[in-house]
């Protein structure tokens, strides 16, 4: 029986650390967290212990931007352009793959644990066999440069549909491309222009990007997270979430939150009862829960830190968050 209530969300546990924690995966059935850090380490911590201790695993040479659970191992991704497979028991490296030409910004896994997806500023989304580490497919389609300004584009986020049949990736120009996982065929392009601002005359600079993606449990809705910037000179717009019928390419709902927020983590309730958005950019720190059926706000709280990674407990009554120098667990 569902016992969680988003209206009652409150902090349950907090651990302070020395570095910025950038990514998070929880071993199912446990409170063991694997956490990617800005100090290039992967950390393992079991919050079920009375005095949880962070065990560092060395392997990456730069920020650890992603970590996920696969069938037989953990996999981490870094700005050193590498994917590393880790034995969950021995904590030893099993395999290292030179995955991209630029740093890896995000790592995703299909629900069946068989496929990984990575995105990088080399503007490719790559699909990997989660167990063998073999490259399955390289997906391209986003613009290489930001037009007129001629900056290199950035590929910020990727996500699988719950059935694993489709993979989506989103860039700085706020375009989402959805491909069929099995064939690599492009299925849909969505332009979410609300997340992009530019000013040629005064600042000669653009700002924006789709920072986070999440498919709803039913698979027919796609949530996008980022910022609606007002003034490119100050990068302090409103946190913005939009929900699309991705197959029709139509926006359905939008929630514009407070100022100085950029939503960088999105997480649906397993049955789609709510959508959580956590801010990682901007000067303020917020965690919001919204109704994905109508886009209305359910609850907004001060998250006390920029959040860079989110994971739900098995029963969705706890949310594990990592961010600037803290691990914070929330109870619903």
């Amino acid at each position: 029986m569902e016992t969680s209530d988003p209206n009652r969300i409150q902090q349950a546990q907090k651990i302070e650390v020395a570095s910025d924690l950038l990514s998070l995966a929880r071993l199912p059935g446990t409170e063991q967290l694997w956490i990617g850090s800005s100090d290039s380490n992967l950390y393992v911590v079991d919050l079920a212990h009375d005095k949880p201790q962070l065990e560092p695993l060395e392997g990456h040479a730069s920020y650890v931007s992603g970590v996920i659970v696969v069938e037989t191992a953990m996999v981490s991704a870094g700005w050193d352009r590498k994917l590393i497979w880790w034995d969950r028991e021995s904590r030893q490296k099993m395999r290292t793959v030179d995955a991209h030409q630029r740093g890896i910004r995000q790592l995703a896994v299909s629900i069946d644990g068989k496929r990984l997806a990575t995105v990088s500023d080399d503007m490719s989304c790559k699909l990997w066999d989660a167990n063998s580490g073999q490259l399955v497919r390289e997906l391209r389609g986003h613009a290489e440069i930001v037009p007129r300004y001629e900056y290199p584009n950035k590929l910020f986020a990727c996500a699988f549909t719950p059935d694993g049949k489709f993979i989506a990736a989103a860039d700085e120009l706020c375009q989402v491309i959805v491909w069929e996982t099995q064939t690599g065929k492009e299925m849909m392009r969505i332009d979410a222009a609300a997340f992009f601002t530019h000013d040629w005359d005064r600042n000669n600079h653009p700002w924006g990007g789709l920072r986070s993606l999440a498919f709803a449990p039913a698979g027919n809705r796609l949530a996008l997270g980022g910022m609606k910037n007002q003034d490119v000179a100050t990068i302090q717009g409103n946190g913005l979430v939009q929900i699309f019928d991705w197959q029709a390419g139509k926006p359905l709902h939008e929630l514009k939150a407070g100022e100085n927020l950029q939503f960088e983590s999105l997480c649906f309730h397993p049955q789609g009862n709510w959508l959580m958005a956590a801010s990682g950019g901007g000067s303020k720190s917020r965690l919001i829960l919204m109704n994905p059926q109508d886009g209305t706000l359910i609850k907004e709280i001060d998250s006390q830190m920029p959040i860079f990674g989110v994971s739900l407990s098995d029963s969705a009554d706890k949310v594990y968050t990592v961010g600037r120098r803290q691990i914070v667990v929330w109870k619903l």
Binding site: S40, Y63, N203, N204
Partner: protein, 437 residues
């Protein structure tokens, strides 16, 4: 009866014309106009070949994300370092094009240490004039204006000091403009904001070219008479010279027209505004302009430092490498010094918004081309970039190095308005011999 004229310019002007019968009506044409410069510049013939392009990274670029990366350190950020064409020297992964060219063009200075921590105001003016403690309340001209004066080319009718700004930050928002002070208006910059050419350099549509020339001849005559009566005061002659140079921009408007460049050249630079302004800068120095500044804005990354530098540094990399290749291909680089500088660097500490804040304690600059030893790194910061570890370089030393690279004596005295001698850099300043060719 037509009046007989002695041939002097004075008699070329009719009373009717003077009283405004026409916009530029003269009798007898414009014969007898004087020329700028004087024979006293003969000893500067060698120096007048020299030119400078200053690439000013307005806002303060991060040394960690450009010339002095610290990968894997708590202060290092996410980007890696890449090897360059000089063994043992690495720079940010965001500069792969310059990495291949360090041996050919550039000396990197990693230990600049300056007091300025601001985008504008007194502190910045002090930096731009060398952070001097030996001049009391005297407003010392900025390096750019000094170079404009020292490298003046009497054979060129272009302004000595032209500055381009890619955004309102750097000029309108923060006044980072060069300043000539007692050198006179002639060496003040002509500032070009967010475009490729100064505004209003074309002849008004209501005038023909002949009428414009005649109008200018009248102005010249009147100015020369005025100056003859005020020979001790440099100000009027300086404004006269400055006006003349500005006026000559109209005759040189083709220099600002980059459509005349071959597509292959334009492609190498790219099409950003900064890139296009850099092409104009090359055209100007090629035509004899002694000092051109490219003020590239938006480096003030208090928030989202890494994403901002992921955009701006590759742009800088592309434009700088194209500019240096272009100057070298034309045989200009041996006489052209390209300075990459800023008002400060950025903090080792990464703040709450993934940003870096203002930092003058230890940061980087680069010198390329004329008079510079290529492929060297001078100075060192510690492992985390929190302090200078070897060979700190002050603003005065940096300026002395620039002057020496151009064959200018960094102790050469100017005469201040109160009559005292003021050397170009403080008396005890030494240039960085390790980067001079």
């Amino acid at each position: 009866m037509q009046q007989k004229l002695c041939g002097s310019l004075d008699h070329a002007i009719s009373r009717r014309a003077f009283l405004g019968a026409g916009a530029g009506t003269l009798i007898g044409g414009t014969a007898g106009l004087g020329v700028l410069g004087s024979s006293a510049f003969a000893d500067q013939l060698t120096k007048t070949e020299k030119r400078v392009i200053l690439v000013f990274l307005s806002g303060g670029a991060s040394q960690f994300e450009t010339w002095d990366p610290k990968p894997g350190r708590p202060t290092g950020g996410p980007f890696l370092a890449i090897p360059t064409s000089v063994p043992g020297i690495g720079i940010s992964e965001l500069m792969p094009l310059m990495a291949q060219r360090i041996h050919k063009y550039t000396a990197i200075i990693r230990s600049i240490s300056t007091a300025n921590n601001a985008h504008d105001g007194r502190s910045l003016r002090d930096l731009l004039s060398g952070e001097r403690k030996d001049t009391g309340n005297l407003d010392v001209p900025s390096l750019g204006s000094i170079l404009a004066r020292e490298l003046v080319n009497p054979a060129s009718d272009l302004p000595e000091n032209i500055a381009f700004y890619s955004a309102y930050v750097g000029l309108t928002l923060n006044n980072q403009s060069d300043f000539a002070g007692f050198l006179g208006a002639r060496y003040e910059p002509i500032n070009v904001l967010s475009r490729l050419s100064p505004e209003s350099i074309q002849i008004p549509a209501s005038l023909t070219r002949q009428e414009d020339q005649q109008r200018n001849a009248l102005r010249t005559l009147l100015s020369q008479r005025f100056l003859a009566e005020r020979q001790r005061d440099v100000t009027p002659s300086s404004y006269h010279a400055a006006f003349g140079k500005v006026r000559n921009l109209g005759a040189n408007e083709n220099l600002f027209d980059i459509s005349k460049e071959p597509p292959a050249i334009r492609q190498r630079y790219g099409n950003s505004l900064f890139a296009q302004q850099a092409i104009v800068a090359r055209r100007l120095v090629e035509a004899g302009a002694p000092f051109v500044r490219l003020n590239r804005g938006w480096w003030d990354s208090h928030g989202e430092n890494f994403d901002i530098h992921a955009a701006l540094v590759p742009d800088l990399d592309k434009v700088m490498s194209a500019l240096l290749d272009d100057l070298d291909d034309r045989g200009l680089l041996q006489h052209t010094l390209v300075i990459t500088f800023a008002e400060m660097g950025r903090t080792p500490t990464i703040n709450n918004m993934r940003g870096r804040d203002h930092w003058g304690k230890c940061w980087s600059a680069a010198l390329s081309g004329c008079g510079i030893q290529r492929g060297v790194v001078y100075g060192k910061t510690n492992a985390d970039g929190t302090d200078v570890a070897e060979n700190p370089v002050s603003a005065a030393q940096f300026f002395a190095t620039v002057l020496n690279a151009l064959g200018i004596d960094h102790q050469k005295p100017y005469t201040a308005p109160d009559g005292r001698p003021v050397p170009l850099t403080p008396y005890d300043t030494e240039p960085i011999k390790g980067v001079l060719a």
